[in-house]
């Protein structure tokens, strides 16, 4: 059944640019991870191998996902969403505390982070909602209430873990998708004013101390270089140390001499920037930019609303991750735990990114379908 869905024609339309861009980033990511974890001894220094396993696993998962026509997902949209929210709820029951934050669910030796997958589930749910809700007139804020609630529930759950970074990503993905819809200018204005008004309240009541800390440290990093400002300071120094051409592979002193904690999870970019310099970082940013813009292109070519929103949503996931991660490591954004797609180590992160890319591939390959709808049985 499933096999049959990847029609000969769809296979002909394999999106090579998407694949190559993603593959290039993944290769650079693994190579960089090798260098980043070379400072450790023991199992941590082998992380790049695990990353390869995750990429393979993500690839298989992605392959399966590509094989299923994305339009089947439309029906499953809310089911997947409900499953995601349920998992997030489960975190609070089964959570395992990692550095003051409970993000993981464990099954034996296998553990995963529901908040990562939630990003994709949310995009699917939003796509389904907008697919089912076509408008010819401009939307009011009320018309976006349901998608806002769809975003708000998991975002708040994630914020409580607490994981400010992922909650922010969900919000930004939602806002990107909202930007896709035709919202009245008046409503946009009201929204902006409301956010501006709510910001102080969120600052005081919603954010936790450590989250506020990160923002203050971001604003005045020199106050506490040894402790809270350590990450921001040393990652900026590492990037600057790279200069134009970089210190060369495995030769970044900030990394090699342990000045970059979490260099395999949230801070692989400074490692890369230190070794490959401005030339390398521009190349990487261009790859991410290509991937993001290509996603928008895929979305714009989609034959239906579901595919369009799905494309923009997946593109937004990749875009915001890349932007925020590089922004925080280079000191233009506060340090929130946001991974760099395919550069950061992590099973959940890698699989999520691979799923997003697979969905993009899926949409891209089926844009030519003469017979738009598969048989629904």
């Amino acid at each position: 059944m499933i096999r049959g869905d990847v029609s000969g024609r769809a296979r002909d339309h394999f999106d090579w640019p998407l694949f190559i861009a993603a593959a290039l980033i993944a290769v650079l990511g693994v190579v960089n991870l090798y260098s980043a974890t070379s400072v450790y001894s023991g199992s941590r220094s082998e992380l790049y191998i695990s990353q390869v396993y995750w990429l393979v696993l993500g690839g298989i998962l992605g392959g399966v996902l590509v094989a299923i026509d994305y339009r089947h997902l439309e029906r499953l949209g809310y089911v997947l969403y409900a499953f995601g929210v349920f998992s997030l709820g489960l975190v609070f029951v089964l959570a395992r505390d990692v550095r003051g934050s409970s993000r993981w669910i464990e099954f034996g030796s296998f553990r995963f982070q529901p908040s990562e997958f939630m990003k994709v589930f949310l995009v699917i749910a939003l796509a389904k909602f907008l697919h089912d809700d076509p408008r010819s007139e401009g939307r009011t804020l009320k018309d976006l209430l349901v998608p806002a609630v769809l975003t708000g529930v998991p975002a708040l759950l994630i914020l409580k873990q607490p994981d400010l970074g992922t909650a922010t990503i969900l919000t930004l993905v939602f806002l990107t998708i909202a930007a896709l819809t035709r919202v009245r200018w008046k409503s946009v204005a009201v929204f902006v004013v409301t956010v501006a008004g709510a910001a102080p309240i969120i600052w005081s009541y919603v954010l936790l101390d450590y989250q506020r800390d990160r923002v203050t440290v971001f604003l005045r990093p020199e106050d506490d270089i040894l402790h809270r400002g350590w990450h921001a300071h040393h990652s900026r120094v590492a990037i600057g140390n790279g200069g134009l051409f970089g210190n060369g592979f495995m030769k970044g002193t900030q990394n090699q001499f342990n000045f970059l904690p979490d260099q395999f999870s949230d801070f692989p970019f400074p490692v890369y920037a230190e070794e490959w310099g401005f030339v390398g970082t521009v190349l990487l940013i261009l790859l991410y930019a290509f991937l993001s813009l290509w996603a928008i292109r895929i979305a714009s070519l989609a034959k239906d609303r579901f595919g369009a929103v799905l494309g923009v949503g997946c593109g937004a996931i990749l875009f915001w991750h890349a932007l925020i991660n590089i922004g925080m490591t280079s000191g233009v954004l506060p340090v929130v735990g946001v991974t760099l797609p395919l550069f950061s180590y992590g099973g959940s992160s890698v699989t999520t990114v691979m799923m997003a890319i697979a969905l993009l591939m899926n949409v891209s390959m089926r844009r030519y379908s003469a017979v738009p709808a598969p048989d629904r049985l």
């Binding site: 930007a179 819809t181 600057g240 134009l244 002193t253 001499f257 609303r305």
Partner: protein
């Protein structure tokens, strides 16, 4: 067929893809600009910080100079001591700790104490638990060897070598050599520019202090790579700029004029007495061969190495002892010289031409002057100058002062010409000045009233007259050598650690005292008689083979009845100081010797025997060391058993 198509009207999105794409592109462009700023515009600053992060300048320890006696025997040197450091947080109390205790070989009590210390630090919140702490100082060499072999099983444990000053002669000569102490905050603020840092040890007394700048040496440094946790990393080519290393310069060695064997002989000779000071000076050069103050202390304990507790205990003992071991009694203590001063009174009278040395006076055991009776030791009968000195007749000298016009000022002036009552300028330790009281000074002190009795006391070296042991030794050296007052000398040469002499100090004459040879020889004869005539005060102390001239002294001390003090103590502290000052041999004198036994009683009985013992030891050593006549022993290795001088 399908609902999808019907519901899919993508026209709502049409124009917005472009805006989103534009937004994304602009934001990425922003990132690129930021990286342009960081990696090109501000790169140099970051590169500098990154280098600073990993390059540390570690200081390389220097070695303090060795102090040797005149024959090359080591009096003070630095030995390596090993301190044990642990990181409390990282030490495994179940598996590593028992092993460590075992290898260290500490007792049950100490183990419990250390364990409690570690546990409390581990439980605390401060940063201390993740830092190295000093667990035990100066661990034994055996323990060091064991720890080194088992290094691999002892993570978070470090043995760090630290140089500690060691004084092989321990208590002998401690005051002259001094000791080392950790530099305190106040001193550090002055010394920081000279390269001192916290925890440095600095000479705190004696030669260690006075010659600190020579002994200390200069630290070197080396640039090394360290990671974020401060651990050393190998390599550094291309990262560390030259120069990578500056070698330390070891401190200068000092060659003293002191003789360790003589110091030891003095210590031995003084064993019967509780407190006092002895000086042995070469009359031909002013070089100090022996300088000893009792009670002494062990500078090893004060200089650290055995731990802070030992230092604290040693200092407590030092300052609570009523015999004042901290005081250098040869230099820093001023005492009434008693009858040892009489030669100078005599010279004053002779030089002024106020007396006829052959004229006799009758001693009936006391002289009544005004309302007071000034006592003599016994009835001397008819006494002239010679007998007055040799048999130490106070009455003779009272008469000089009271009847013959030998006033205080004349006596004080002569004393001062011989360097008494003036600091000698040795430059080691704080010197007491002593005092040659003048009439004006006494008047001032007594609220405008001068009594002639003051002059009588001054004539016999009592009352307000005080001298130090070293001053008296140099004055007697001048008596012996025909009137040359030398600058005392204790450091003979400065040498490199390789043994090359950098600087040698020649004897320095302070002044040639202008006294007539005739008068001087008269006094010398009297001093000879004081030892060698049957009635001489030191006659009974004579030792066969020791040719000596000299003068005893029994100086009265001001009676201070300490309130509540035990009778025994009061008895001791009220007893006279015993003195002997002299020189040897009598024909062509080589050394002057002064012995002070604090509260020792009669000089002839308690001080003179010690002086003879010391000079005998000196003679023996000289005979041993220079089998051929005319070769001085200085600077030569002792050549024992090569026969004696003809």
């Amino acid at each position: 067929m399908s609902l999808v198509v019907q519901r899919s009207d993508v026209s709502e999105f049409r124009r917005r893809f472009r805006w989103i794409a534009l937004g994304m592109a602009l934001l990425f462009l922003g990132l690129i600009l930021r990286l342009f700023q960081l990696q090109l515009l501000e790169s140099d600053e970051s590169k500098a910080i990154a280098r600073e992060n990993i390059v540390r300048r570690v200081t390389l320890a220097t070695t303090r100079g060795i102090i040797r006696d005149r024959n090359g025997k080591v009096l003070a040197e630095s030995r390596p001591s090993y301190n044990l450091y642990v990181v409390p947080e990282r030490i495994d109390m179940q598996n590593v700790w028992p092993k460590l205790v075992d290898y260290l070989g500490v007792g049950v009590d100490e183990r419990a104490r250390l364990e409690a210390l570690l546990t409390s630090i581990r439980a605390s919140d401060g940063p201390r638990k993740s830092q190295q702490i000093l667990l035990k100082e100066d661990i034994s060499r055996d323990a060091v060897a064991t720890l080194r072999t088992h290094d691999a099983e002892l993570p978070a444990v470090d043995v760090v070598p630290v140089p500690v000053r060691s004084y092989p002669y321990e208590e002998v000569g401690a005051h002259v050599l001094g000791y080392m102490a950790e530099v305190d905050a106040e001193k550090l603020s002055q010394l920081r520019s000279a390269g001192y840092v916290e925890g440095d040890r600095v000479g705190a007394m004696g030669i260690e202090r006075a010659w600190e700048s020579y002994l200390r040496g200069t630290r070197g440094w080396e640039k090394v790579l360290v990671d974020a946790k401060g651990r050393r990393r190998p390599g550094g080519e291309g990262i560390i700029e030259d120069p990578r290393r500056v070698d330390p310069i070891p401190g200068r060695d000092l060659r003293l004029t002191l003789d360790a064997e003589i110091q030891r002989a003095i210590e031995k000779a003084m064993r019967g007495e509780l407190a006092g000071g002895v000086a042995l000076v070469d009359v031909r050069t002013g070089r100090i061969l022996g300088l000893y103050s009792k009670p002494s202390y062990d500078p090893n304990a004060l200089s650290g190495g055995s731990g802070k507790q030992v230092i604290r205990d040693a200092f407590r003992r030092l300052y609570s002892d009523p015999l004042k071991p901290a005081l250098d009694k040869t230099i820093a203590g001023a005492y009434p010289p008693g009858s040892t001063f009489k030669p100078f009174t005599a010279l004053a009278a002779l030089e002024k031409g106020l007396i006829d040395p052959r004229a006799s006076t009758q001693c009936r055991g006391a002289l009544t002057f005004g309302k007071r009776t000034f006592r003599c030791t016994h009835v001397h009968g008819s006494t002239d100058l010679h007998k007055g000195i040799a048999e130490s007749c106070n009455v003779y000298f009272y008469r000089l002062a009271s009847e013959l016009g030998v006033g205080m000022d004349v006596i004080a002036e002569m004393g001062q010409r011989f360097g008494l009552g003036t600091r000698t300028g040795l430059g080691v330790n704080a010197e007491a000045q002593g005092r040659m009281p003048t009439r004006a000074w006494m008047t001032l002190r007594n609220k405008g009233q001068f009594r002639l009795g003051f002059g009588l006391n001054a004539a016999i070296g009592q009352g307000a007259t005080t001298v130090t042991v070293l001053q008296l030794a140099l004055a007697y050296a001048a008596l012996a050598n025909g009137g040359t007052l030398y600058q005392p000398q204790i450091v003979r040469a400065v040498e490199t650690s390789a043994g090359t002499v950098v600087q040698e100090f020649a004897p320095r004459v302070r002044r040639q005292i202008d006294v007539s040879p005739e008068n001087l020889s008269r006094v010398q004869k009297a001093l000879f008689a004081g030892v060698n005539s049957e009635a001489g005060t030191a006659y009974k102390a004579r030792v066969l083979g020791v040719d000596m001239a000299g003068k005893t002294g029994t100086a009265q001390v001001s009676h201070k009845l300490a309130r509540g003090a035990e009778a025994e103590r009061v008895w001791y502290f009220n007893r006279e100081h015993a003195w002997f000052a002299g020189y040897s041999p009598t024909r062509s004198p080589e050394v002057a010797v002064v012995v002070l036994v604090e509260h020792g009683g009669a000089g002839g009985k308690h001080a003179a025997p010690i002086a003879f013992e010391v000079v005998r030891a000196y003679q023996e050593l000289m005979r041993e060391r220079s089998p051929r006549a005319g070769v001085t022993a200085a600077g030569r290795a002792p050549s024992k058993g090569q026969g004696s001088a003809p």
